[in-house]
Assembly symmetry: C2
Homo-oligomer: 215 residues x 2
């Protein structure tokens, strides 16, 4: 019978999968690597998750669902606090960015998996991701429209898109950055990262729209 407490094997597999999928991608991580790292029998994955694809999907939704829930919670709080006024832009952005790094605390591969899955998702993940982000994207676009009524909605959409790109890229390379920077950059603490990203995105979101080049 299904036990009340979470199945240990189930959890161990998910943890190993999170780390290995993040490191090597869906195709690069093998069932044997995963089960070995989880100290679990090879067949356990097929027993608990049926297929490798379903394991990957569960590994990803396990990280993305609480993340998006937390984002909406904070954004909702900010909206309540703002009352009739629009939520200030930096607050909107921070509600999106901060949970990313908070939930990643103590899980070294959390960010890498997220980033990889967005930039190079396995084909079977497309629908799943669209479903997971449908609500979120609508909520944020709406909040941004209130905060920046002067910026056309389509422009807002694109800029939020860029911001997600900046966030994910940072997430993916947080540790491997020293290489490109010739040692000038030391890995900064979480709060600095958040502040830097929010500052960057806040300025970018309300950029003036340049006139199209013309004669």
């Amino acid at each position: 019978m299904k036990s009340i407490v979470k199945d240990l094997t189930h959890e161990r597999i998910l943890n190993a999968a999170e780390s290995l999928f993040a490191l090597h991608g869906y195709d690069g991580a093998t069932m044997r690597q995963i089960t070995e790292k989880a100290a679990v029998n090879l067949s356990a994955v097929n027993y608990h998750f049926d297929t490798k694809e379903k394991l990957y999907a569960e590994t990803f939704t396990r990280i993305i669902r609480p993340l998006n829930a937390e984002r909406l919670t904070i954004l909702t709080q900010a909206e309540l606090l703002a009352g009739d006024h629009p939520v200030p832009l930096p607050a909107i952005l921070e509600s999106f960015i901060r949970p990313t790094f908070m939930l990643a605390a103590g899980r070294p591969q959390f960010l890498a998996l997220m980033s990889r899955n967005f930039s190079a998702p396995p084909p079977f993940m497309r629908e799943i991701m669209a479903a997971e982000f449908s609500a979120i994207s609508q909520r944020y676009i709406r909040a941004l429209q209130h905060a920046l009524p002067g910026v056309p909605p389509m422009e807002l959409f694109w800029r939020m898109f860029y911001t997600v790109g900046a966030l994910l890229f940072t997430a993916a390379h947080r540790e491997t950055m020293a290489l490109l920077s010739h040692g000038a950059i030391q890995s900064p603490d979480t709060e600095s990262i958040i502040r830097r990203l929010v500052d960057y995105a806040s300025a970018a979101m309300c950029a003036p729209r340049r006139e199209p080049a013309m004669s």
Copy 2:
């Protein structure tokens, strides 16, 4: 003997590899898919490139080298034009962004391969990429320091990093965006993309630095 004109097989393999590595990643694309798409014998890859890893490396350097060369060319032109003055920020950014989309014209998977290789590079690519981007990153940081003397160099480094993230994310999802946008977004033309990105990044690069949160 090595013929003067480029070997046809060599080229066909690289073209097929570019498209398939972009679509499925290093592990996801198989030699058989590649040789089949190239209409070439399976062994041809090993004959011409020795191993799959070296094929991947060549596929990537073939797109990244002309790209970075073009960037430096345009940046140098802008510097000459500016004389003693610093190159204006939007010009710096455009010299970085525009060649990306120009060289991608007519090569549907150019951008996807670039993006994938940055966000989830196969392990053996790390050194190669560091080598390819060493010169570029130094040149751009210097130009940015001149254009924005008020912003600390480390801040500039990070913001340029974010900008690259925004660029690559856009590159990866240029076609698959309609999904998340609920049909509200139609794929825009190249000039619009460039202008939007430059506007976004120009505002972001010179963002004011918020005071650290304190008591």
